[in-house]
């Protein structure tokens, strides 16, 4: 009987201190977004999802958007974020540096859960190969992206370009994928890069874009927009978030939000999803611990 009392007391003490007993409604979550498209569009895209989660879980969701990709790694702890929809490279960096765990990833309407990066040029530019890009202007997106920087760098290296400073007459970081597309469309840059999901959205809105641009290289599949949360977030909260997001395609309201986002559903995300990112870093000769991901 005494042993039972001790066990019960211990269980109560453990239970009181356990995060499992944290009531979700007492907490609000700050979720970070990366500027994969211009920040207004990006905020607009995720706001209905935040409202949906709030309604289903009772957890208040606040969204914060970073002006640069690399900022999400730097500011995650500083701004006390609880999670973020990370991109390809930012996700890998966050898993390594911030002790976050991948929770869910989006499944697009065509069933795909990953993205490909494109290297694009204007069809009338006369650029058909890496050799034609010599002394031209290149618009990367951000150093903290695979599809918007690392993949083009690896692709150029595979085609003999070691020093981009001397190869291009100018190269710069546009800050978002759509800005890179518009720079090429306008002739403000000769070569750009974009991930397929953003490219498709732009073409859907304005089909003429496809008539004017040529895709000259496609990257291997990369993870995208994966919701990763702090590892020390209460277990019940992680579980609740995961469940709500994984099942949102089963109710009409959830399906409506997913449709607005151009998604079919969410599926479970794993650390292994980031394997292609680590492989790409390796191909480029970078070490993730020392990789300079900040875009000045």
């Amino acid at each position: 009987m005494r042993i039972m009392k001790v066990i019960l007391t211990l269980l109560i003490i453990v239970a009181i201190n356990s995060p499992v007993l944290v009531r979700p409604e007492e907490k609000e979550l700050l979720i970070g977004l990366i500027p994969e498209q211009n920040i207004f569009k990006q905020f607009e895209r995720y706001l209905p999802l935040a409202k949906y989660i709030e309604k289903r879980t009772g957890i208040k969701i606040r969204l914060t958007i970073l002006s640069r990709y690399g900022d999400i790694v730097d500011r995650f702890t500083q701004r006390r974020m609880d999670g973020a929809f990370f991109g390809d490279l930012t996700g890998a960096l966050a898993i390594r540096k911030l002790s976050v765990i991948p929770l869910v990833k989006p499944v697009r309407e065509d069933g795909s859960t990953s993205v490909h990066g494109y290297i694009i040029v204007r069809k009338d530019s006369g650029i058909r190969s890496v050799a034609d890009m010599k002394d031209k202007v290149m618009a990367f997106v951000d150093r903290a992206t695979v599809t918007g920087y690392l993949f083009p760098i690896v692709y150029l290296r595979e085609h003999g370009v070691r020093e981009i400073d001397s190869f291009f007459s100018e190269h710069y970081f546009s800050g978002s994928f759509d800005a890179s597309v518009y720079a090429v469309l306008d002739g403000r840059a000769d070569v750009g890069c974009v991930k397929d999901s953003i490219f498709r959205n732009l073409v859907k809105k304005d089909p003429s874009i496809k008539d004017e641009l040529e895709i000259i290289a496609v990257s291997p599949a990369m993870p995208e927009s994966t919701l990763c949360v702090k590892d020390d977030l209460p277990d019940n909260m992680k579980k609740m978030l995961r469940e709500v997001l994984l099942n949102m395609n089963r109710d009409a309201e959830g399906r409506k939000v997913l449709k607005q986002m151009g998604l079919k559903r969410f599926s479970e995300a794993r650390q292994e999803d980031y394997k292609p990112v680590f492989m790409m870093l390796q191909s480029a000769g970078y070490d993730i611990d020392t990789y300079h991901y900040r875009t000045e």
Binding site: N38, A179, D186
Partner: protein, 318 residues
């Protein structure tokens, strides 16, 4: 001793004279050789076009930086933008023994080609020169390309446009090309348009008053550039946003997509230096376009503010 002294003085005088002759000869030889190296370059541009002045100034700076400023002498002509004045300016340069003639814009280029087929002609700020059928061996230069669809794409985001007024110069071949390309873009995006041709600067005001339009595009043109600033209040009074491929009219143009002046100046300097050194050069096409968005004006005109313009423009006027 005295006599010896006289001989000595005479010998000294001869030496001094010979010495002076030597110096004078050396100086004359120096100046004559410098003069022989000095190249006369004629330049023709209409002063009222801001881009021309900017390119020309930067071009001269580059030549100076590269040590060519003492090897060339510029004779500039700033004619009225009309065929007769362009021709006269080029003839004057031929009389001045210009060894090379730089012409800004396709109107002056056309007259230069007509006036000489022996003096090297270098054009600057000409749209799509590959389509102008310049088959002369003495002609090279710096051209540019602007995707006209980009202009229409941004315009559509700003205002639902029913009829775009297209102001262009019939006497400048590349202005006509721009008109043709913007017409194609309008048709692609299902926007109505009205062509507003001018042949003289004095016609700009009349055309702006005569036609009906709810947005206005004016091409890069010396003819239009001369008088447009005085008439810009006309489309403004109709609340018609103005877009252009000409930069330098920031007060009245809502946005412009134009070739970068510095890049044109750099390519021009490369071509001129090559020609000075007896090397042949091909026509260069500048692709570094610049997007300038007048956010302040767009707000005043209560237009939609496309995020692509705010976030993507090289310069936003606030």
């Amino acid at each position: 001793m005295f006599a010896g002294g006289q001989v000595s003085i005479r010998a000294n005088s001869t030496g001094v004279i010979l010495y002076l002759i030597g110096i004078i000869t050396a100086v004359l030889l120096f100046f004559s050789s410098s003069h022989a190296q000095m190249r006369i370059i004629g330049v023709v541009f209409s002063e009222n076009v801001p881009a021309y002045s900017r390119i020309n100034s930067r071009f001269k700076d580059i030549l100076k930086e590269k040590g060519y400023s003492k090897r060339v002498r510029f004779i500039e002509q700033h004619p009225n933008p009309d065929p007769l004045a362009w021709s006269n300016a080029i003839r004057k340069l031929i009389v001045y023994d210009a060894e090379m003639i730089i012409v800004y814009g396709s109107g002056a280029l056309e007259q230069a080609i007509f006036e000489t087929d022996s003096i090297p002609i270098v054009f600057v700020n000409v749209y799509s020169p590959d389509r102008l059928k310049i088959n002369k061996r003495n002609v090279t230069g710096v051209g540019y390309k602007i995707p006209m669809t980009s202009l229409i794409r941004y315009l559509k985001e700003m205002k639902e446009t029913k009829r775009l007024g297209i102001l262009f110069s019939e006497i400048e071949p590349d202005s006509v090309l721009q008109m043709e390309d913007i017409v194609k873009a309008c048709e692609k995006f299902s926007i109505g348009y009205v062509k507003m041709p001018v042949q003289k600067s004095g016609q700009v005001e009349e055309r702006l008053k005569l036609f009906m339009y709810d947005a206005l595009f004016f091409t890069n043109s010396a003819v239009i550039g001369k008088t447009y600033p005085e008439c810009s209040q006309i489309p403004r009074s109709l609340n018609a946003p103005i877009i252009s491929t000409m930069d330098g009219y920031d007060d009245s143009v809502v946005f412009s997509l134009s070739p970068d002046s510095d890049a044109q100046a750099k390519d021009l300097a490369d071509i001129v230096i090559s020609l000075i050194n007896g090397r042949k050069t091909n026509i260069k096409i500048v692709r570094n376009n610049r997007l300038i968005f007048n956010l302040r004006l767009a707000r005043e005109m209560q237009l939609q503010l496309p995020i692509e313009l705010i976030s993507g423009a090289d310069r936003v006027i606030r």
